[in-house]
């Protein structure tokens, strides 16, 4: 075997093994504190929005409860907690994400607090996609430890997109339709897809069918990069 061929082979093996390492992680290895603390009740904090799109915060704040309930957790209704967070001057998540979250146990009975930080939210009308860079951090109100965290970038499909079959005319029609129709709904759907993608890696809560027994399941890892189509 030539030297260059050998080098390429070794590089390929190393590249493959490094890709595979995150895939081999189990949920209990990735998120051990979820299994030791077993949080039941989650309080959703208003997302931290680092993007120019002021509405991105609303898409996420209103679309987190359902997927978390479906993972088996009790989620304090954001519609009800919002007012109390404002009354307690605790509506600004930035103030708490790196600080002490213990007070949320007392007022809301929450075992854990979920922070989300939207770092970018870029629309591409031509491709009918939204590219989002986002972080999810679940912190314990008992120990202040991070129980679950994932961050990364997702390309989310918001429609049928630009396909070769429609040609230029088809593309123009598609773009017009996308521009005038349910743009808002598509953004909400994109946020939901993002939540679904990220939260499927979270170990299940008390009401989930795999509560405490999903530790050996494969975890996708704390850092993600992917595409979610319709």
């Amino acid at each position: 075997m030539k030297l260059t061929t050998k080098i390429i082979s070794i590089a390929a093996i190393l590249a493959l093994s490094s890709c595979g390492s995150s895939k081999l992680t189990t949920k209990e290895a990735a998120y051990p504190n979820m299994y030791s603390e077993k949080p039941t009740t989650i309080l959703l904090m208003p997302p931290i929005n680092n993007t120019a799109d002021v509405t991105a915060k609303d898409y996420y704040y209103t679309s987190l409860a359902v997927p978390l309930c479906e993972r088996g957790f009790y989620v304090v209704s954001p519609l009800l907690s919002m007012d109390i967070l404002k009354q307690e001057s605790a509506y600004d998540s930035e103030m708490f994400i790196d600080g002490n979250v213990a007070p949320f146990k007392k007022v809301f009975g929450a075992d854990a607090v979920l922070f989300t930080r939207i770092n970018s939210w870029e629309k591409n009308a031509l491709m009918a996609t939204i590219t989002v860079n986002i972080e999810y951090i679940l912190k314990s109100t008992t120990t202040n430890e991070i129980l679950f965290e994932r961050k990364g970038e997702l390309v989310l499909s918001t429609g049928s997109g630009a396909t070769a079959s429609g040609g230029l005319i088809g593309l123009a029609v598609q773009m017009t339709a996308d521009a005038v129709s349910t743009a808002l709904t598509k953004h909400v759907e994109a946020a939901r897809k993002c939540n679904a993608y990220v939260l499927t890696d979270m170990p299940q809560g008390k009401y989930g069918t795999k509560y405490t027994i999903d530790g050996k399941e494969k975890s996708q890892g704390k850092v993600f990069k992917g595409t979610v189509s319709r």
């Binding site: 009740t41 509405t55 409860a65 309930c69 209704s77 009800l80 109390i84 009975g109 929450a110 909400v188």
Partner: protein, 112 residues
């Protein structure tokens, strides 16, 4: 033979269908609409959806999802149906005891 194969195909599809703990009707859309535009019309639509969720559950748990009774109760209170609202908030505690601390805060705020 073909019928059996077809039946098997349908059954396999059914078994692949995702099993949700709860069913939500149009909940997420209604919550988004009400949160971003809290008009009486959007409140009414959200309440109708909550009523449907409470009335019929097809999820694997066969029970009302977390937070639904408390949201419905609060909206009833806002509509002036205070006693009905308080009863719904207490149902939230009954169904989900972990909600007690938070719901008691809500109930106290109603009494003020």
């Amino acid at each position: 033979m073909k019928k059996a194969a077809f039946l098997l195909f349908i059954l396999s599809l059914a078994s692949c269908a995702p099993k949700q703990l709860y069913t939500w009707d149009k909940y997420e859309n209604r919550v988004y609409d009400y949160y971003t535009d809290p008009t009486e019309e959007n409140k009414e639509k959200l309440m109708q959806t909550l009523e449907k969720i409470i009335a019929k559950q097809k999820g694997t748990r066969g029970t009302v999802p977390p937070g639904i009774y408390s949201e419905y109760g609060m909206l009833l209170v806002q509509k002036g149906r205070v006693e009905e609202g308080k009863a719904m908030l207490n149902k939230e505690i009954e169904l989900y005891p972990e909600s007690k601390e938070f719901v008691l805060v809500i109930l106290k705020s109603i009494e003020k």
